[in-house]
């Protein structure tokens, strides 16, 4: 008995000592503009655990397009990073949780009292079969329409509330000599527009039903989404595929276009890079038909199975989920905290309005940014978009989407 006690004490002491030293490798795609936000988190971590060597393993490439490929080769090769950045939702569960690669973090959430700190819609999104698998650090909103208030006054139009209104406004602007009232960018921003159109046309309930398999993609309601999408595309610039999302935002700021639909990282771009004041230099509204709904995407960190520095990772996750950590990270990143109790005074006017919506709105997840559909679907959705753009046949696109959904067992 004494021996056992002794062994336990040694083990406890050992793990305590380990918690103070060793390494922690954090794998993410936050480089460039987003680097300082991650650095702020790492600095906080170093302050708490000065003896831990933090390895900041970033792989550049927007939205993690390159990082995810590197991550997969590392995981398949049996060399998981201690903690990796992943979009909360199906990008995590559909790829890593179903493959049994992640540890259950429900005990951590209970221990830290996070169950009441994060909105229920978000917890549902990061759970799989009742267990929670990642700690969300930030929230971005996908369904936002951006404009320049002064320009709209000049043209004499109001930000449209529905897609039908949008199309009318579009005609008005075209008759006033604006060639392309909607600014659109490369490939993924077109899919980004699609999810806003889908949410606006279907409404939050049917939109969610698409992803749990209750609403089929070849349902007439969804075919109608493609038809509306086609009419909206007619309002957009023809050289879209050649523009980055920043260039598309620039078109709005320069007055070559009236509206742009983009996630709220656009607010960060306009305030930080362009030096504009939220509400004066640029204005925003929920994308048409989606008032009261918050289409979210979120970056989160999880705990892969079989990592070398488990205690260090758990400490990292505690920091990532804490109020202090989130309020240090998010004002720099240009996003809002996933927690509902963060301090609004640290955020700018746009982010404060997003925080209010985050607490009161209905929450749904984004398709393009990995929240509601597994990677196998999301990545092949590009093919569906291709079929639509080259044929302009709504039924063909809807059938293709359903074929892929069946193939990847979406919602099962």
């Amino acid at each position: 008995m004494r021996k056992l006690f002794f062994a336990l004490v040694t083990a406890a002491l050992g793990s305590l000592a380990l918690a103070q030293s060793g390494k922690l490798e954090i794998f993410s795609w936050w480089a460039g503009d987003e680097g300082p936000a991650l650095q702020a988190l790492i600095d906080l971590y170093k302050k708490r655990y000065p003896n831990v060597e933090v390895i900041n393993a970033t792989v550049t490439g927007g939205s993690g397009v390159n990082a995810r490929a590197v991550l997969k080769t590392r995981m398949l090769g049996g060399d998981p990073p201690d903690s990796f950045q992943v979009h909360a939702g199906q990008e995590l569960t559909g790829t890593w949780v179903v493959a049994d690669r992640m540890e259950d973090l429900t005990p951590l959430f209970n221990q830290e009292g996070w169950m009441n700190r994060f909105p229920k819609g978000l917890i549902d999104l990061i759970s799989y079969k009742g267990k929670i698998y990642s700690v969300p650090v930030n929230i971005h909103r996908s369904n936002v329409m951006w404009y320049v208030p002064a320009k709209l006054r000049e043209w004499g139009v109001q930000p449209p509330k529905t897609w039908a209104e949008f199309l009318t406004v579009c005609q008005t602007l075209k008759s006033k000599g604006l060639e392309a009232p909607l600014a659109l960018g490369e490939n993924w921003t077109q899919q980004h527009l699609w999810e806003s159109v889908a949410l606006g046309v279907l409404g939050a309930n049917d939109y969610s039903n698409l992803w749990n398999g209750k609403l089929r993609f070849n349902d007439p309601k969804v075919v109608a989404v493609w038809n509306t999408f086609g009419r909206v595309l007619d309002c957009a610039n023809k050289d879209a595929s050649g523009l980055s999302w920043q260039q598309a935002v620039d078109r709005v700021l320069e007055g070559q276009a009236a509206f742009n639909i983009m996630g709220d990282w656009a607010a960060g771009y306009m305030t930080t890079t362009k030096g504009l004041k939220p509400g004066e230099g640029f204005g925003w509204a929920p994308s048409p038909g989606t008032a009261g709904v918050f289409m979210m995407l979120s970056d989160s960190f999880g705990l892969p199975k079989g990592v070398k520095n488990r205690t260090n990772v758990l400490n990292w996750l505690r920091l990532v989920g804490s109020k202090e950590g989130q309020d240090a990270f998010n004002p720099l990143k240009g996003s809002i905290a996933a927690r509902t109790d963060s301090d609004p005074s640290k955020y700018n006017a746009y982010l404060q309005s997003a925080m209010r919506d985050w607490k009161s709105n209905r929450i749904v997840g984004s398709l393009v940014h990995g929240a509601v559909a597994p990677e196998s679907f999301m990545s092949q959705f590009g093919t569906v978009m291709e079929i639509y753009l080259s044929s302009r046949n709504a039924q063909a696109a809807a059938n293709a989407a359903q074929a892929i959904a069946t193939q990847v067992r979406l919602g099962q």
Binding site: T95, R101, E375, S376, Q380, S390
Partner: protein, 374 residues
């Protein structure tokens, strides 16, 4: 044991053994593994795609069947068509430009060394650098499209890399028929050459198979429809930009090949032809071009396998997601690492390998045969 009778043979074998083992594992071993993977369902079940010990099942040629006849894999078929057109125009462009430059330089103009270096320089760049430079030049708003304004013309409007225009459209269902026609035309050509050369047996075999193939194409071939609906594929005009950049990079190299060939033609031959009263055109047509034929073949092989494998140039110029400029190598990357469809990605890889092999193997075979003859 004949092998060990001679010590040199033993030493020779021992010396090449390490490279044999490494090649065996890292080239042929992995080719075989990829081939096996392509026959499985790895990636169809998301729970198994990236698990530590994936359970994968053997499903035969299902992945290949889907790629060629499946409803959702239209993008792969368009990519094959893209690769075909890219290869044709890339090789034609490099060969004609390279040959032209070589002929000019062969006449020893002033500053030959200077121009030779200039034309060769693009080759020393990596495709990523070339791609980035041309990406800027082909922006719809600037670069090449601004050129006409220099002489007072309106700005160019072509969208280059993102254009969705497609010409020479053919239905995928007509492809077996068209392929049969092309192959039998080639066979007829071989037969005529054989009869002319006096190889009667070869001529009969070639013309016989051509007739059989034509018969099949005209009767059963028309009813072979891989898809239940017509799916049009054609030449994406967006590829013009890619072809420009690739030709810009590789034509200097082709020029160097041709220049070496031209310099290898003895001066006596040219003089003898001139003495016999050959005009300059006849000199090239009858003496020089036939002597350059082996160089053309080598250049075609080298350029051909580059164009079939092309990935980095397009990745840098248009990105992996720009569907109008997609090729199978890019799709393989997307399928494997984005969509987690590992087995299907492996199948695309195997098809690429077969295409390259179809170009390389006959060449290697003919090279080896001619070496033995010597």
């Amino acid at each position: 044991m004949n092998w060990f009778r001679n010590k040199d043979t033993l030493y020779g074998f021992l010396v090449i053994l390490p490279s044999l083992v490494l090649l065996g594992i890292f080239v042929y071993g992995f080719i075989f593994q990829t081939f096996y993977t392509s026959l499985t369902d790895w990636g169809r079940d998301p729970a198994q795609a990236l698990s530590a010990n994936p359970q994968i099942r053997f499903i035969g040629l299902e992945n290949y069947r889907e790629l060629f006849t499946g409803f959702v894999d239209a993008r792969f078929r368009q990519d094959l068509v893209n690769t075909f057109f890219f290869t044709v125009f890339f090789i034609l462009g490099c060969l004609s430009l390279g040959l032209g430059l070589a002929i000019v330089l062969d006449r020893s103009p002033k500053g030959e060394g200077f121009f030779r270096t200039i034309f060769l320089f693009p080759m020393s760049l990596s495709f990523i650098v070339t791609g980035t430079i041309w990406r800027w030049m082909l922006q719809p708003q600037g670069g090449v499209n601004q050129l006409p304004t220099l002489v007072g013309l309106p700005r160019g409007e072509f969208a280059w890399l993102t254009s969705r225009e497609q010409i020479w459209q053919v239905s995928w269902n007509d492809l077996p028929f068209i392929t049969a026609l092309v192959v039998s035309a080639v066979l007829v050509f071989i037969a005529i050459a054989a009869f002319r050369g006096g190889e009667r047996r070869r001529g009969y075999i070639a013309s016989g198979s051509a007739a059989l193939l034509l018969l099949w194409a005209l009767t059963l071939g028309r009813s072979l429809q891989p898809l239940p609906f017509d799916e049009l594929h054609g030449f994406n005009l967006a590829f013009i930009g890619i072809i420009l950049a690739a030709v810009w990079q590789m034509s200097g190299y082709t020029m160097a090949l041709y220049l070496a060939g031209l310099r290898g033609i003895p001066e006596e031959l040219r003089e003898a032809a001139r003495v016999d009263g050959a005009s300059e055109w006849q000199l090239y047509q009858r003496i020089i071009f036939p002597l350059l034929a082996p160089i053309t073949l080598s250049a075609m092989i080298i350029l051909g396998h580059i164009s079939l494998k092309i990935f980095d140039l397009i990745f840098a110029m248009a990105g992996a997601d720009n569907a109008p400029t997609d090729v199978p190598a890019l799709l393989m990357y997307l399928t494997t690492f984005r969509a987690n469809q590992i087995a299907k990605g492996a199948a695309i890889g195997m098809i690429l390998l077969l295409l390259v092999a179809a170009v390389i193997v006959p060449y290697l075979y003919s090279q080896l045969k001619s070496e033995v003859r010597r």
